[in-house]
């Protein structure tokens, strides 16, 4: 089922806001998690909005991507919240949330997920500069929307993050309701498409006119975007792979790491409340450091840097959705996302798995078949 979201004067934001308000109102949503302008500064953060009036500040179209909302939504749905929820998420946030759902960190059945086509986002640093260049955040977003969905070569111009430029899932396929923006002609309004039974039910209650069939422009815009990204992705993978094809190379790649573990704190699928690297397991005895130093003539401190990153690859590369938040979080500008996307691409491919796309597909490390992977056995 599809429905049309009316837009006046090419004002994307107002159209979306009123659509969200309708959803909240007609579906009896108690609160909606949506990127919203902070009251105190021109900044955007996910906010759990219970007063529909506050949706006037909601801005899900902004290229701001301060945190991956999946983790926030997991906090809201881990246990029954006592009310009906909705969340407006980027495609990568939805995929991350699906991964978390598979790991019992959140639940889909208690929340209506509205996903919006994502042209890409800016790093926190770049967004601050971008936002500050505009009078208001709304103006910034409007300016961004004017070009972002055309499919044209906006990635470089908009300085999207590397993760976004390499993203090959820009549409919110896992949402209950998908708002389609790529290739949209704003004069015709936007399309909201139900992608689940829950989405159907919600849309049916909204009383909006049905939308037109998929526009050919949308297809063109998507194809162009995906082609460009595929190309970027290929180049990025080649360059990262070349740089890290030895342990020496990998060490150099991670040379600036100070073991702050921000990358894992920002990672939506690193779901542990406490990372093992910050537990007693890695609180080595002083004797141990001495032994290492003795054995090797010297030991870099803090230790376990490579161990941490390799472990993280083993733990979550099959769940990596390529959102880029690790790079975004790194204080020392290590392009972690490029590395993790590369590894995740290969580990997921090895298990025929795509992180976050299909809720019914079990994570590769949960389960086994009696007959499989014979090639890894033997001398």
């Amino acid at each position: 089922m599809t429905q049309a979201i009316h837009i006046d004067n090419e004002d994307w934001l107002s159209g979306i806001r009123s659509f969200l308000a309708t959803v909240m109102d007609k579906t009896g949503i108690d609160a909606m998690l949506v990127p919203t302008r902070l009251a105190v500064k021109n900044r955007i953060m996910p906010m759990l909005v219970s007063d529909p009036a506050r949706l006037a500040q909601a801005d899900p179209l902004s290229p701001a991507f301060p945190v991956n909302g999946a983790k926030q939504l997991a906090r809201l749905t881990r246990l029954p919240a006592g009310g009906k929820l909705a969340a407006v998420l980027r495609p990568c946030e939805i995929r991350a949330f699906n991964e978390l759902v598979k790991l019992n960190q959140g639940k889909r059945d208690d929340v209506v997920i509205v996903g919006i086509d994502c042209p890409g986002a800016l790093s926190n640093t770049d967004f601050r500069a971008f936002a500050d260049r505009h009078e208001t955040i709304d103006a910034a977003t409007q300016a961004f929307c004017a070009t972002a969905f055309s499919g044209g070569p906006v990635d470089e111009a908009a300085a999207f993050t590397s993760a976004c430029r390499a993203c090959n899932h820009p549409t919110p396929d896992g949402a209950d309701i998908a708002v389609e923006l790529f290739g949209t002609d704003p004069t015709h309004g936007l399309t909201a498409r139900a992608r689940t039974e829950m989405g159907e039910a919600v849309l049916a209650g909204l009383d909006l006119p049905p939308a037109e069939a998929v526009l050919p422009q949308r297809k063109t815009a998507l194809t162009e975007t995906l082609d460009r990204r595929r190309q970027y992705r290929k180049q990025m993978f080649a360059s990262v792979a070349g740089a890290t094809d030895t342990i020496r190379g990998l060490s150099a790649y991670l040379a600036d790491c100070v073991n702050c573990y921000n990358c894992r704190a920002a990672c939506p699928v690193c779901y542990c409340t406490t990372c093992v690297f910050t537990t007693d397991t890695f609180r080595h005895e002083p004797f141990q450091y001495l032994q290492w130093a003795r054995r090797k003539g010297g030991v870099k401190m803090p230790t376990d840097t490579l161990f941490f990153h390799l472990t993280r690859m083993a733990h979550m590369s099959t769940a990596c959705v390529g959102c880029g938040q690790c790079t975004n979080a790194c204080p020392n500008d290590i392009p972690l996302s490029d590395l993790f996307s590369l590894v995740g691409h290969h580990t997921q491919e090895a298990f025929g798995y795509v992180a976050g796309l299909d809720l019914s597909q079990r994570p590769p490390m949960c389960g086994f078949e009696k007959e499989e992977y014979g090639e890894v056995v033997g001398i």
């Binding site: 019992n104 542990c272 990372c275 093992v276 537990t279 007693d280 004797f287 141990q288 032994q291």
Partner: protein, 1135 residues
């Protein structure tokens, strides 16, 4: 509950003996497990592969509860359990006394090799000049007279085969630890000191007693010399002259008795001093001889002294009950007429030899090569029923295991030898009678390259020039087939153990004509003497699963005997009472390293290792001790006990590690056993090898990271719930209640009895009704059993130790039962059918209906002249693709009953394969003899049934007789259909307890061979035909087995957590629940709030899978924490 300790003897350390011992040990008894052989495991030590996995899995037999009472290791190494004393080379010589208090005498073969000293280096074997066929490899390889009986055995003590040993003495001097004392064997061990001043006497006595009689003789020419020798070494007998110059004999005797009070002394006297000799007897001489004397008068006196000594070498023991599990032997095809040319035609081997050929410890290290020319075997034939179902070899029984054995061997051989391997199995009836056998058989024989041929081989001849073997048989169609094979395997049958007959005679228990032990009616394990029970194949040939079931049944019956006699079930002593609380202390480790060798290289390695250990601040002290596995070594180890250390690391050889000493050491230090870590130092690699150092460092890391957290275990509700009031349920309930444990017995119908209510008699004519009445009577008056009829379990939750079950009773309020274990005995019933005209005519009935008619006296045999029976109706093909096992004997039973009523009545039995396994084969022979006609049919050519209008013969059965290769039509008055058994286990009931059903709806056992009566989920058991179709006696055996296994839980107050058990560190847990999903034992669950993952420590087996799926070590396994493992890796890499 009575807490007195009971004890039991288990004779036979094969798989059944091991099972019975573990069961008894788990119930808290002290068990003495003996075996005639110098090794454990019986025949299974020679078998590496078992279907259905075509692998081993024997270790799954080990206790899952209270795992720390034993050592968690491959059973091929041995059975190590604190309640079990294993005595090898030991036989049961005599039994006196009554059930509950038997005095047993055990005869132990003298051990010429000191197990404390032998380090398994094998130098003795290298030195031994004798070569004999190695029985372990079925004679395919040679071995020395001094040898390692089973290569896996730990301790890997060598042993001497007294029959092969020539006593040449070559081994003694080469032993680096002086462990060999050849003189300890037999008469050589009997040391005689001859004291006489006359050299002629000394020489002739030396010659008579030493050279002729084989005793060890030393001589002394005077009293002082004699005393000197006596002081130096012990003697058993002294021949002492009275009249000697210097010190006379009486004085020597007096002094000798001070040095060696128990020495036997035989005085030698001249006629004149007889009185002195009589006086000497007053001060302790045993007898005298008057000189001159002949050997004939001397030798019996010496022999008497020797025999007396041998008798005292008997070990005497008091036990409450005895389980015999001495098993069977294999038929030797070379005896008698030997039509198979075994031992004559090359490349004809037994199935056991073939098994060895497949084994990694076999003659060719697991490559399938022909014994003599070592050519790869690519085409082999199996000949079934060699020494089975063969009256010519005195075997009117089926050995039961060989069909599956051959199928398995073919499957494994194909895996080993490659896809171009071709197997042909030539058989008479393919007896795939057990659970999942049929499907395994079909799957195996549908494999390309594996072929079945119905027939029996007559001729085996060598193929000239090639070493191949040509065999000839008649195919099903009557054609004479001749084919050439690389190798022919004789599927040899089982034979009663010849020692059993003697043993049975000694114990006063009967055996049948084949030498199998006779049992009480409706029991496979009760011998005719109270307190003595039989497990395994002793009461008739059977397969592993049934052997194990019988063993468990025998164990529980033994336990009942002990309990009834007041022995009670023992509770394990709480050995933690005296433990020091060191939880808050930093680790102060004492490292003890064993010095087994004296050489500079070893010494240097010890120095390096101790320096290395001492670097670690956690190591308080390093101590090097000599040979800590010997008594002296152990003493010196105990001397190191000190309160200044709180953990102990011992580096020693395997003998020490697998002994029971670690626990004893912990007690000596007053420390919890988890604070003791014993590490095997590898002799073969050397102490300096990185591998050895790595092992020590891993042990150190474990000790440094050991957790002192103690789980209290699960409190046990001492009540069992038994669901199903048939024979299995009732038997289980009685077995449990007889141990003083409460039982709730839930039966859905309005009365107890199940299928026994409609059964008339057994095949041997024993009426069933009196047996049933007796059992019901026992149940009803048992104070510990509460019977709930018209009741159903409608819901349940909980785990081993504490379940809650909701029970609905017709017309009464719903109740909840709390119990520690549950036994599902919901049974099964005759499968329905609409085949062969069933339902369209009164003349077509099922076997159950026929039985009922007979039972109720409604069958008019006068009015009928012919009865036809069709077997396997809807069985052994999808969807009920299994053999119901009882139908063939049932058909025989009815046919023989009909014949006994009306000899000229004609009975026709239409069958696919007659499944008269074990001793029931004799009834098949009898039925044939009595003229009952048997027609074999194939599933693709089933009989056709026509209901006729002819009142004289209302049923017409048309079939194809494969022998005549012609159609046959039978006109019958009655057609009886054997539709088989289908289980009655509602899925909801199974799921309520976490049990699973197999694809046919039967109770899914944890392991079809090693744990056949329990679910993978602890505390849930199944018995009777809910497991698989079975006879009454077999159902009773499963019931008793299940009861015994359940008692291991039910008799405990708490189920203790083993050391290697998973725990949850809740502050780290993110509740992703992957650990719950991955646990193979269902040991993890969410608590009632849904916010905490808990582990049932009794169900957790410590596999560590949860810890691996957990990304942040919120799930850890004690002893294998990440810290500990990282430490081990670092230690290993720092070498």
């Amino acid at each position: 509950m009575d807490r007195k300790i009971g004890s039991a003897l288990v004779a036979g350390a094969g798989i059944s003996g091991i099972r019975a011992s573990i069961d008894l040990a788990q119930m808290g008894y002290r068990v003495t497990l003996i075996d005639r052989a110098p090794h454990m495991g019986g025949i299974l030590s020679q078998l590496d592969y078992q279907f259905p996995t075509d692998r081993c899995g024997m270790c799954r037999m080990l206790p899952m509860l209270d795992r720390d009472a034993g050592i968690q290791t491959c059973l091929r190494k041995g059975l190590f359990h604190e309640n079990i004393d294993v005595l090898l080379g030991t036989t049961l010589a005599a039994v006196e006394g009554e059930p509950g208090r038997f005095e047993v005498a055990l005869n132990q073969a003298p051990s010429p090799i000191d197990p404390d000293r032998c380090i398994g280096c094998g130098q003795c074997s290298d030195a031994c000049p004798v070569s004999v066929p190695d029985a372990f490899n079925a004679g395919l390889t040679p071995r020395k007279a001094v040898y390692l009986p089973v290569p896996h055995n730990i301790p890997n003590t060598y042993t001497i085969d007294p029959a092969a040993c020539t006593r040449c003495g070559a081994c003694e001097p080469v032993c680096p630890t002086s462990a060999i004392r050849l003189s300890a064997m037999g008469r050589q061990a009997f040391r005689i000191l001859v004291v006489d001043d006359e050299s002629i006497i000394r020489q002739s006595l030396d010659a008579w007693l030493g050279d002729e009689e084989g005793y060890t003789v030393e001589t002394a020419a005077s009293g002082p010399e004699a005393l000197e020798k006596l002081a130096a070494t012990p003697f058993h007998l002294m021949l002492l002259d009275i009249k000697m110059p210097g010190m006379d004999g009486v004085t020597v005797l007096e002094k000798a008795r001070i040095i060696r009070p128990s020495l036997n002394v035989l005085m030698m006297t001249a006629y004149a001093t007889v009185e002195t000799a009589v006086d000497a007897m007053k001060i302790g001489a045993m007898d005298y001889l008057i000189k001159p004397f002949e050997p004939e008068s001397l030798i019996p006196k010496v022999a008497a002294a020797y025999e007396a000594l041998q008798k005292t070498a008997y070990r005497r023991q008091t036990v409450g009950a005895i389980v015999l599990a001495t098993g069977t032997t294999c038929f030797d095809p070379s005896v008698g007429k030997n039509p198979m040319g075994y031992g004559i035609v090359p490349h004809v081997v037994t199935s056991l030899a073939f098994e060895r050929m497949l084994s990694g410890t076999g003659p060719d290290g697991g490559r399938l090569l022909r014994p003599s020319d070592k050519r790869p075997v690519k085409k082999a034939a199996w000949i079934q029923c060699v020494g089975s179902r063969d009256l010519q070899t005195g075997a009117d029984f089926c050995s039961t295991a060989c069909c599956m054995f051959a199928l398995k061997e073919a499957a494994v051989a194909r895996r080993v030898a490659g896809d171009d391997f071709q197997a042909t199995i030539i058989y008479m009836d393919l007896r795939t009678f057990g659970k999942n056998f049929e499907r395994y058989g079909q799957q195996t024989t549908s494999t390309e390259g594996i072929r079945l041929e119905r027939g029996r081989v007559h001729s085996i001849v060598p193929t000239p020039g090639s070493g191949d073997v040509t065999i000839r048989w008649t195919s099903a169609s009557g054609k004479i087939r001749e084919e050439c094979f690389d190798l022919v395997v004789l599927s040899i049958g089982q034979r009663a153990n010849p020692h059993t007959t003697a043993l049975a005679e000694g114990l006063g228990i009967d055996t049948d004509g084949f030498g199998f032990v006779k049992t009480a009616p409706f029991s496979d394990t009760r011998t005719l003497r109270g307190g003595i029970f039989a497990g395994g194949t002793l009461t008739g040939p059977t397969d592993i699963a049934e052997s194990v079931i019988r063993a468990s049944s025998a164990a529980v019956n033994a336990s009942r005997t002990i309990h009834r006699a007041g022995g009670g079930l023992a509770e394990k002593a709480d050995d933690l009472v005296s433990c020091r609380d060191v939880a808050c202390e930093p680790p102060r480790i004492l490292a003890v390293l064993c010095r087994c060798e004296n050489n500079p290289e070893y010494e240097k390695a010890l120095d390096v290792l101790s320096a290395r250990l001492q670097q670690d601040p956690a190591v308080a002290r390093v101590k090097i001790l000599d040979r800590i596995c010997t008594a002296q070594g152990w003493d010196s180890l105990k001397e190191t006990v000190s309160a200044t250390v709180n953990r102990v690391l011992v580096g020693a050889c395997r003998t020490f590690i697998y002994g029971k000493k670690t626990r004893g050491l912990a007690a000596a230090f007053g420390l919890d056993p988890v604070l003791m870590e014993a590490v095997a130092m590898d002799h073969h690699q050397g102490l300096a090898a990185p591998a050895t150092v790595a092992a020590i460092m891993a042990g150190l890391s474990r000790l440094k990271n050991v957790s002192m957290e103690k789980d209290q275990g699960i409190a046990v509700v001492n009540r069992a719930l038994v669901v199903g009031g048939g024979i299995a349920g009732m038997s289980a309930a009685l077995a449990i209640a007889d141990h003083g444990v409460d039982v709730t017995l839930v039966e859905a119908s309005d009365r107890l009895g199940g299928n026994l209510a409609w059964l008339h008699q057994t095949i041997d004519g024993t009426p069933i009704a009196p047996f049933l009445e007796d059992i019901i009577g026992q149940i009803e008056k048992h104070p510990k059993i509460e019977v709930m009829i018209n009741s159903r379990v409608v819901g349940a939750f909980g785990q081993a130790g504490h379940f809650f079950s909701t029970i609905e009773t017709a017309g009464e309020p719903t109740t909840t039962a709390e119990h520690g274990a549950v036994i599902l005995a919901t049974g099964g019933g005759e499968a329905p059918t609409d085949e062969y005209g069933y339902g369209t005519s009164e003349a077509v009935v099922t076997q159950k209906e026929l039985e009922t008619r007979i039972h109720e006296g409604r069958l008019d045999t006068d009015g009928i002249t012919a009865v036809a029976m069709i077997q396997c109706v809807g069985s052994r093909e999808e969807p009920r693709n299994y053999c119901s096992r009882v139908c063939c004997p049932t058909a025989l039973k009815q046919a023989l009953w009909l014949k006994s009523r009306k000899p000229d009545l004609q009975v026709y039995i239409l069958y696919r394969d007659m499944m008269t396994c074990g001793l029931s084969e004799a009834w098949y022979t009898e039925a044939r003899r009595q003229g009952i006609l048997f027609f074999q049919y194939r599933p693709d050519r089933k009989p056709e049934v026509r209901i006729t209008a002819d009142e004289a013969a209302p049923v017409s059965v048309r079939l194809h007789d494969p022998i005549l290769d012609a159609p046959v039509e039978i006109a019958a008055d009655l057609l009886v259909l054997a539709t088989g058994i289908q289980p009655r286990l509602p899925e909801t009931l199974a799921l309520a307890y976490g049990a699973e059903r197999d694809r046919d709806g039967f109770f899914l056992e944890a392991d079809s061979k090693w744990r056949p009566v329990e679910a993978l989920k602890a505390g849930v058991f199944g018995c009777g035909i809910v497991l698989s179709p079975r006879s009454i006696a077999e159902a009773v055996a499963t019931a008793e087995a299940a009861a015994g296994r359940a008692l291991a839980i039910l008799t405990a107050d708490r189920l203790p957590a083993a050391r290697t058990t998973a725990i949850v560190r809740h502050s780290l847990c993110t509740l992703c629940l992957r650990c719950i999903e991955t646990c193979p034992y269902d040991a993890r669950f969410l608590d009632d709030t849904g916010q905490r993952v808990l582990v049932n420590p009794a169900m957790c087996q410590g596999c560590g899978d949860c810890a691996t799926v957990c990304p942040n070590s919120a799930a850890i396994v004690e002893g294998f924490t990440h810290r500990s493992m990282f430490g081990a890796i670092e230690g290993a890499m720092a070498v």
